[in-house]
Amino acid sequence: MKKKYFYSHIVDTSSLSLELSGMDLTSIERLHLIYLVESNIHKEVLSLILSELNLSDQKKFLTHLASENHDEVWELLNDKIDGVEEKIKRTIEDLKKELHRDIKDIKN
């Protein structure tokens, strides 16, 4: 089965899911919040990548992404951005920290 996002294999949101599962939420509410986590991650990753590419490569990237050609996405990114996988991981980890902080805030 095709993965949902081209970066699905390097993102792990289980710590957030776990945190949410410990809260007084219905299962629908928890799933909706996880969906919002994924949406935010997706936009952060897009923002990171587009900022690192020139216009011509941005168009290539968006075309591969929209067509869900994950292999071609990675081929382009590895060719054009140094340490792209590490940068994506770091971006996601930074965002996860912020989202954990949000959870902590509203619990207090």
């Binding site: 219905t26 909706h32 949406s39 935010n40 923002s47 929209a66 989202l99």
Partner: protein
């Protein structure tokens, strides 16, 4: 407690997502606009492609299977084009629009929704038509109306109870003389109301009665340019004060539909008069044609 935790988190994360979307479009409008204009030829209708572009995120869990979700493509598609088109017109900072920007936005919105929207009607215009929207409370519709009598379903009560009732009446007093006299039109006028600073209109004080009558329940199209959601609202109150940093206010139902929030999470909307001389256009959410 459940509701409060869930609502706080979902509001915060939805607002965050919209802010990210706005910045993304602002910074990369050339490539995203290019994809928006060419994606049909490139991708032959992939929903994944559309989701890249649109700022739309659902208010509830997207649990539909893919086959069912495909039916939302035309609507998403048009919203995506709307977001793309507006990105090319609107300034990066939230400020009053210049006349060419105003006209451009009205042209796009009139075309998208199949209605005529204008920044000026009968020689009257508000102080601005692009600004931050803040959250208002429910208005008392008739003498004795309160939170217990206000909602027509348990679902609405759960969604909108906590916003509470405004301590005073709207700018035009009650919507109806009594509960028995309350019509569906009155209910919709309260449900989908906005508050705008009518008092900042040019010549407002010199022609008070004329302006008061003009603005009473005047229909406006209110659009969140970051997710393409739009609603036909009516003016039923005056405000907010300039010092609040907000330029208009929306009822709890308007804010919920537009996915706009108050305080530090506040975001901008476009708002223009709806030219509807025969009163044909209904209040409430409106979809692209």
């Amino acid at each position: 407690m459940t509701k409060s935790h869930y609502k706080n988190l979902s509001d915060r994360w939805k607002a965050r997502h919209q802010d990210l979307t706005r910045k993304l479009w602002s910074k990369h409008k050339e490539s995203l606009g290019w994809l928006s204009n060419n994606y049909r030829q490139l991708i032959s209708g992939s929903l994944g492609g559309l989701m890249i572009l649109t700022g739309q995120i659902s208010n509830t869990l997207p649990s539909l299977p893919i086959a069912a979700t495909q039916s939302t493509v035309p609507s998403l598609d048009k919203k995506t084009f709307l977001i793309s088109d507006l990105t090319h017109i609107l300034p990066e900072e939230i400020r009053p629009l210049e006349s060419t920007e105003e006209q451009g936005a009205c042209d796009i919105l009139s075309r998208t929704y199949g209605i005529k929207v204008v920044p000026e009607l009968d020689g009257k215009r508000l102080n601005r038509d692009y600004g931050f929207i803040g959250a208002e409370q429910h208005l008392t519709r008739y003498p004795g109306d309160n939170l217990s009598s206000h909602f027509d379903s348990n679902e609405n009560s759960q969604l909108y109870w906590q916003q509470g009732m405004a301590p005073g009446l709207g700018a035009w007093s009650y919507f109806a003389e009594s509960r028995d006299a309350l019509t569906q039109e009155d209910i919709d006028r309260e449900k989908y109301y906005i508050a705008v600073p009518t008092f900042l209109s040019k010549d407002f004080n010199r022609n008070f009665a004329e302006y008061r009558n003009f603005y009473k329940y005047r229909k406006m199209l209110v659009v969140n340019p970051n997710n393409g959601r739009a609603i036909i609202a009516d003016i039923a109150d005056s405000g907010p004060a300039e010092w609040t940093g907000k330029h208009l206010g929306g009822s709890p139902e308007v804010m919920h539909y537009l996915e706009r929030f108050d305080g530090a999470l506040k975001g901008p909307v476009l708002y223009f008069f709806v030219d509807d001389p025969n009163d044909k256009i209904k209040l409430g959410p409106i979809m692209p044609i």
